[in-house]
């Protein structure tokens, strides 16, 4: 019944398929993981010293390096010696279940000696692209009639230059009105007979020869032709007149516009003047200018990490669906009471550090990273803390859950004891000489929406006043800055429909505002003179512009009409002359004979 050779063959196959690979399993798996990981990460993934022990259900490696696909000269992260417990029986269910990973010396954004770029295969992108951090400047969202102050150059001209003047836009709309009117005039003018038609008319007139009149019938024909041409020319002259009336009527209205322009420009300047006399800027402007960029860059940094998480999660989910099946792939049915596992699930990652050898470290834990959170129904929970080369210490807590209707990320980060020495706040022209800062941020993403807050607190502050420039504008700031010993800034952030709104306030606002208001008000008379001069100059400029444009358009249209009207009147005279000559050329007897016949023609 049994085939002896068959049993030997099967055993041979088993040996080849299972035993031999087991002997070389470590290097096979290491190579496979490097290849697969590189493909998934889009950049080089390197694993050193991987060993697998089925007896202990454990995988260990000396080093794991993942290159940042966006910057191949940087590593996204690298680990030191690490151990990973694996559930071997689950591997036979085609699932990777990792109860625990212990990672030593996890480091982010470390430098690489060689580029970690790989040749990517061009794939059709099927997943919904993860939105990149919104770089929209929050200052743009509340721009209406606000002045953004450059502290290095506090003067009236710069303030007016940054005012949102409404007159130019209105003047532009007038210009487009003129362009439309001119287009309409020229359309009408184009309907008048062209040169070819005029030549034909000319030929008809020239063909009238009164010397050939020999009978009453000849005369009747010629007079009839003269009458027909005259009617045609009169029609053209009437059309000309209608167009001329239209042009004149419209330009009469347009000529009132310079007064309107004057009013608009003056209104703009009056508004600017009012604005300046009240200080010209809000505390909101100041806080946004000093801290806006910092907050945006911090949010961008968080969001770039979260985007990567979303990208890989989407990638894993879409990969399972693209499994190649030769025949009908059917449908996998899952039951409620079955043990349902995702393709890969890391239940716990413990991060620790050998602080004796490393200046910066990360410790803590990350729980429940899985390829399919809709199966585990558990969010990824992050609880880590660390120190960056003695510059600052930080704590990060977060919950990431992608299985709901919208991906959700809640991140709380607090960075303490930041050494601010040498730091330059945007808008303050002096670097920090001494100071310690703390940042507490709390961000909540739901789909593409974000809400959160950032709190920055700096103490023991001292600015290096010798490092700034010595312009007049900076002198005001110098006085203020030398008295600042702490900063307390609070930002509330909200993002929806790709629009980021930030409400930022700080203890510096009132200090700066009152001091600069005083400075501007002190120069009020000078300011008013400057405004009056600019108002007069601009009003004249815009009025001249409009007047010149209207006159030019009117002249163009009327010139064209004037030429043709003169020509047509000339033709009418010529026809009258021809008529008289024709009438002279017949005898009195013929005249009487004709009078009777002509009565009908000129009725």
């Amino acid at each position: 019944m049994f085939r002896r050779n068959g049993i030997i063959l099967l055993l041979t196959i088993v040996v080849f398929l299972f035993i031999l690979p087991t002997l070389f399993l470590d290097s096979i798996i290491e190579n496979y993981l490097e290849e697969y990981g590189s493909e998934q990460a889009g950049a080089l993934v390197e694993i050193e010293g991987l060993t697998i022990s089925f007896i202990h259900s454990k995988i260990e490696w000396d080093q794991l390096i993942v290159t940042d696909s966006e910057n191949p000269m940087l590593n996204l992260f690298e680990t030191g010696f690490s151990t990973m417990d694996i559930d071997i029986p689950m591997l036979f269910s085609r699932k990777l279940l990792v109860p625990n990973i212990e990672i030593l010396d996890l480091q982010f954004q470390t430098n690489r000696e060689k580029s970690g770029a790989i040749n990517k295969k061009i794939k059709k992108q099927t997943e919904k692209p993860v939105q990149s951090p919104d770089t929209e400047n929050p200052e743009d969202n509340q721009k209406d009639n606000e002045i953004h102050v450059n502290f290095e150059n506090v003067n009236v001209d710069s303030l007016i230059d940054q005012m949102e003047m409404k007159a130019p836009a209105k003047i532009d709309s007038l210009k487009s009105l003129y362009a439309n009117a001119s287009e309409q005039w020229h359309k009408e003018l184009d309907q008048l007979p062209d040169d070819q038609q005029l030549d034909l008319l000319e030929d008809r007139i020239n063909n009238i020869n009164y010397k050939q009149i020999k009978s009453a019938d000849d005369l009747k024909k010629i007079l009839s032709e003269v009458s027909s041409i005259k009617k045609e020319i009169s029609g053209i002259i009437n059309s000309n007149k209608e167009i001329k009336d239209m042009v004149t009527h419209q330009t009469k209205d347009f000529k009132k516009h310079p007064d309107l322009v004057k009013q608009w420009v003056e209104n703009d300047y009056d508004s600017a003047s009012d604005h300046l006399s009240s200080g010209g800027f809000s505390t909101e402007n100041l806080a946004r200018m000093i801290f806006g960029d910092e907050i945006i860059s911090q949010i961008e940094e968080y969001q770039s990490y979260l985007s990567k998480g979303r990208k890989y999660y989407t990638k894993f989910n879409s990969n399972e669906k693209s499994e190649v099946v030769l025949r009908g792939d059917g449908q996998d049915i899952y039951f409620e009471n079955m043990q349902h596992y995702p393709v890969a699930w890391i239940k716990n990652i413990e991060l620790s550090s050998n602080s004796k050898t490393k200046k910066s470290y990360i410790i803590g834990s990350v729980k429940d990273i899985s390829t399919h959170q809709q199966i585990t129904k558990l969010p990824t929970v992050i609880d880590i803390s660390g120190e960056a080369e003695g510059l600052c210490s930080y704590v990060a807590n977060g919950e990431i859950y992608y299985a709901g209707s919208n991906p959700k990320e809640d991140i709380d980060v607090s960075i303490n004891n930041i050494l601010l020495k040498g730091y330059e706040f945007k808008g303050i022209p002096f670097p920090v000489e001494n100071g310690i800062g703390d940042i507490q941020s709390s961000l909540h993403y739901l789909g593409d929406n974000l809400s959160g807050s950032v709190h920055f607190n700096a103490t023991q502050l001292k600015f290096n006043l010798d490092a700034g420039n010595k312009k007049q504008g900076s002198m005001i700031i110098r006085e203020i800055v030398q008295n600042i010993d702490k900063i307390d800034m609070q930002a509330e952030i909200e993002k929806s429909n790709r629009t980021l709104k930030a409400h930022i306030s700080s203890n510096l606002d009132d200090i700066f505002k009152s001091r600069i208001d005083d400075s501007v008000k002190a120069n009020k008379s000078g300011t008013n003179k400057q405004i009056a001069k600019r108002k007069a100059d601009d009003t004249q400029k815009y009025q001249d512009e409009i007047t010149s444009e209207v006159s030019q358009l009117e002249k163009q249209a009327l010139d064209k009409l004037g030429i043709s009207e003169a020509e047509y009147k000339g033709k009418l005279k010529q026809l009258d002359k021809l008529k008289k000559e024709a009438e002279k050329s017949i005898t009195d007897k013929q005249k009487k004979e004709l009078e009777k016949k002509l009565k009908n023609i000129f009725r």
Partner: protein, 173 residues
């Protein structure tokens, strides 16, 4: 060459000492392999059984080819049948849960509708196909075999140089 080899071996097997049961068992195992839509642990088990048991390999190949084509044509029926067994027959749910949750057995992928449908269909047809094949082999040997040998195509194949080389090689082997 390979098709010629299989065909001549098949003819030889049908007329040789291979028992009708061995031929039929090979054909039935081929049916199981051909009907399943993709390679799984089940396919590996079928191939292993074919290698270990003294069944006819040519009939196994023939069976897997014929039922491979049939299976391809009836995939959607297998899907509906499998779906019925997995979803509508609630009494069987604990059995499927057992298969899916048990390591190694889960590699059978019995929670896949098409796979389950085709495997169960194969089991349903096991007995009829087995006995029908035995009956046809016996009939062939007693009635049709001689007629087939007399066919021109059979003579051409048997008279071909390749066939004689093949026979010599198998005799030496």
């Amino acid at each position: 060459m390979i098709w010629l080899k299989i065909f001549s071996k098949l003819l030889k097997a049908l007329q040789s000492g291979s028992s009708p049961k061995q031929l039929s068992a090979g054909f039935v195992l081929g049916m199981f392999l051909g009907m399943t839509p993709f390679l799984s642990l089940f396919s590996f088990i079928i191939i292993s059984i074919t290698i270990i048991l003294n069944v006819n390999i040519s009939m196994f190949i023939l069976g897997s080819l014929i039922f491979g084509i049939i299976g391809y044509m009836f995939d959607s029926l297998f899907h509906h049948f499998g779906y019925f067994l997995l979803v509508d027959v609630s009494a069987l749910e604990s059995l499927w849960v057992f298969f899916v949750d048990t390591p190694l057995l889960s590699l059978l992928r019995l929670n896949n509708t098409t796979n389950l449908g085709s495997i169960v269909t194969s089991f349903i047809f096991l007995t009829p196909v087995y006995f029908a094949t035995i009956y046809m082999v016996i009939k062939y040997r007693t009635r049709i075999g001689e007629k087939v040998n007399k066919l021109k195509i059979t003579k051409i194949i048997k008279g071909s140089k390749l066939y004689s080389i093949y026979q010599k090689v198998t005799l030496i082997g």
